[in-house]
Amino acid sequence: MLTYTIKRIGLAVLILFLVMLAMYAMVFVVPGDPAAVALGPRATPALKAELITRMGLDQPLYAQVWNFFRNAATGDLGFDVWSKRPVLSMILEVFPNTLILGAVALGVALVLGVSLGCLSVIWRGSLIDRVLAILSVSMISVPSFVIAIYGLLIFSVWLGWLPAIGAGEKGDLGSQARAVILPAFAVGISWVGYLARLVRASMLEVMGANHIRTARAFGLPEGRIVARYALRIAIIPTIAILAVGFGSILSSAVFVETVFSRPGIGSLITQAVAKRNYPLVMGTVLFMTAFYLVVVTAADLLIARLDPRVRDVYRS
């Protein structure tokens, strides 16, 4: 297990390094002058030059990469070129919003997806099963920003039930809870469909197992068989992909946070990229990549702990 753990962590560090290297390469490949974008027509050449220096873009590429990693290793992700605030504190200020959004979205997806998957199995082959199949595929294929716009239109504009923008008032849990419903729904909806199909497929496999047949022979109700005996086994592959799902949900947050004007790491990245605010772009990408790698690595280690076959593959 130790060898496996070391290998997984080593791989995560390597991925992190390569991602940041790719990010630096992109800074030089993508056209555009951050100083001109940000300062506009009234910028003096001296002011532009100062900004370029502040971003560290006047240094050679290797020096920039080296400085970035050296500083990042000590928790210093640099300073926002405009507000001069530490990038890390800017990220930490908004990250809880994204984390809550991701967690609620995943929770919604899990509850609805697993329920719909179970219902499909209970009514397999029936009209309801077919309707749920269409519904699931529709949910997978509709982009999250479309759901966001329609959700906003229906629940905020027409019905006025939920707030249209923001993350709720500070210190007011009720307000914050209401503010997360629509964005979480928009982000999580495609995973509802995905999980429903996954649960249905793996559960159909389990439903043919001997112990399920025995349960039926004992006359147990179908609902109880599904909930107590089949789901327990069928849910394992679902849990395995949740870590990946969490990453995907965080990516969707970029669109949804923009539509709902919800402060978060997605909207922070969007604005930073638009203004070529490189220290902020680098810092947020590093943070998000690291976070995602921690989640995926932790999930891998957990699976390996639960399933010896996985770590045996690495051992061999």
């Binding site: 993508v30 555009g32 006025g160 923001g166 923009t258 203004k275």
Partner: protein, 514 residues
């Protein structure tokens, strides 16, 4: 498992659903004494030395004072005393002022003094501040006593009070407080003296201002201002309809749809902004060096189609870059659409199969303008290839520090936020701006000479003549097609009278309840 649906069950479910639908709309936003306005970007630099407009400019308007301020642009941009109780030109080069009594900095920094005014202006003049050009004519500020001073200019320059004093670099900062934080600041204002104090800032979400208890000036109608940061125009429109705020600017393209379905209790505001749009025709570009080719493009351009198709007919054709509501604007263009003449000019120049690249930004209005230009040029046999260009790449197209690309760009759809003072808009087309912001490579010594004269001319009629001639030269060079002053579209509550300044930004302090 059985699934039974009967009539009674269906009625019960429908009843429950109908009950839910009738739950009264919950008002999430704060109402009453709070003004809620929307802006499209987060704050970055609140220091007048380096603020970049938008919310960065709006907040100092509330939290500090300027000697004088502008009123609503729809009322002709009237100037009135604000931080100064006495303000007068004593001659063409000096302005005497006395600060209003009772102006006090918070956080214990004492009264606002003439020395603060001196510090505020002189730290920007001759510095690298983007607003340094506003104070180019400032010689120095003489402190007479604690509240009085005299602004000395290097030469007669009446537009100084329009360009420099009412906003941006004209906001007064507290010398002691700013020096205590190292001479510049960003998101934390070291001391405030205006009618409002900044209470909180939630990054990417909103800034909240509350009434300053020590403010002794005219009492604003609202005791709290919430400035919501919503980047996306469409999301902002929906949020307005959901009663998230009282005022929002809209995308021009939304105007028609909003007019047809105006939300209850809302007023749609449409007016010309000070943002001027034009088509740059790069004289230096190899394919455009023959003036007949450039003129062919000018004659082929269908101005009416652009105004109708891209701007919903909300604005008229512009005849230059000088704001039409000022006494200096040119009445009409020299060249009107004439496709046959365009074809004849191309034939005379011996040019056939002309294909040009048109760089445009990626917003929907720019794209629409570009497509209409493409269609109108096609009628004259000119093929236009539209190149949608993302902001960061777009703004360096004509920048000589990025290489020689500025010599080969062909057509670029451009727009700048303009000012009331004509020289503020004409400055970008001087010869020294080639490779900076004069992307037409328009190089006219006469233009430069006229510009210098217009700077100091005090007679309105003579100044108009100078400005009009400069715009004639621009058009005659074949380097420009003037499109329009872009429309400004906003939605606000019926019971609100917004105050919109010439740059399109708001003065929330002056908003009135009706």
């Amino acid at each position: 498992m059985d699934w039974n649906t009967d009539r009674r069950g269906l009625l019960k479910a429908a009843g429950a659903l109908a009950g839910l639908m009738t739950v009264p709309n919950i008002a999430w936003a704060v109402e009453g004494d709070t003004l809620r306005v929307r802006v499209d970007g987060d704050l970055q630099v609140l220091d007048p030395w380096g603020n970049l407009g938008g919310i960065d400019e709006m907040i100092p308007r509330c939290t500090t004072v300027a000697l004088i301020r502008f009123g609503d642009t729809r009322e002709g941009n009237p100037l009135f005393n604000w931080g100064a109780e006495k303000y007068e030109w004593t001659d063409d080069k000096t302005i005497a002022f006395t600060l209003r009594e009772g102006l006090v900095w918070n956080k214990g920094f004492g009264p606002v003094t003439a020395d603060d005014v001196k510090y505020s202006f002189e730290r920007i003049a001759n510095s690298d501040s983007p607003w340094a050009y506003q104070f180019e004519k400032l010689d120095h500020v003489e402190v007479v006593d604690a509240r009085s001073g005299i602004i000395h200019l290097k030469e007669a320059f009446r537009p100084f009070e329009i360009i420099a004093l009412p906003y941006y670099g004209g906001h007064i900062v507290c010398k002691a407080a700013v020096e205590a934080v190292g001479g510049k600041y960003t998101t934390e204002i070291p001391a405030e003296c205006g009618p409002f104090l900044m209470e909180s800032w939630e990054q990417g979400q909103k800034a909240t201002l509350v009434a300053n208890p020590d403010w002794t000036g005219p009492k604003p109608d609202f005791s709290k201002i919430e400035i919501y940061i919503v980047v996306d125009d469409q999301a902002a429109q929906l949020a307005y309809e959901a009663d998230a705020f009282d005022y929002t600017r809209l995308a021009v393209s939304a105007s028609k749809q909003v007019k047809e379905n105006l939300p209850a209790g809302a007023t749609l505001l449409e007016m010309a902004s000070s943002r001027y749009a034009w088509l740059t025709i790069n004289i230096a570009s190899p394919q455009l060096q023959d003036i007949r080719v450039r003129q062919a493009i000018q004659y082929a351009y269908d101005g009416d189609a652009v105004l109708l198709g891209a701007y919903d007919g909300l604005t008229g054709r512009s005849a230059g870059v000088v704001l039409p509501s000022t006494p200096y604007a040119r009445e009409k263009n020299l060249i009107d659409r004439d496709v046959e003449k365009a074809k004849a000019l191309l034939a005379e120049a011996g040019v056939s199969d002309l294909t040009l690249t048109l760089n445009v930004q990626t917003d929907s209005t720019s794209q629409a303008v570009a497509q209409i230009i493409q269609a109108s040029m096609a009628e004259a046999g000119i093929t236009i290839e539209i190149a949608p260009t993302e902001d960061a790449a777009y703004w360096v197209l004509g920048d000589k520090t990025q290489g020689d690309g500025y010599k080969t760009i062909e057509l670029v759809l451009m727009s700048f936020a303009g000012g009331i003072e004509p020289t503020e808009n004409l400055v970008w087309f001087r010869p020294d701006q080639i490779g900076a912001w004069n992307w037409s490579s328009f190089d006219s010594p006469e233009y430069e000479e006229l510009y210098q004269k217009a700077q100091i001319e005090t007679d309105t009629a003579k100044r108009k003549e100078l400005c009009n001639r400069m715009e004639d030269l621009m058009e005659q060079s074949g380097g420009f097609i003037f499109i329009c002053f872009e429309p400004f579209v906003a939605l606000h509550d019926d019971n609100l009278k917004p105050v919109i300044l010439s740059d399109g930004y708001l003065d929330p302090v002056m908003f009135k309840k009706l």
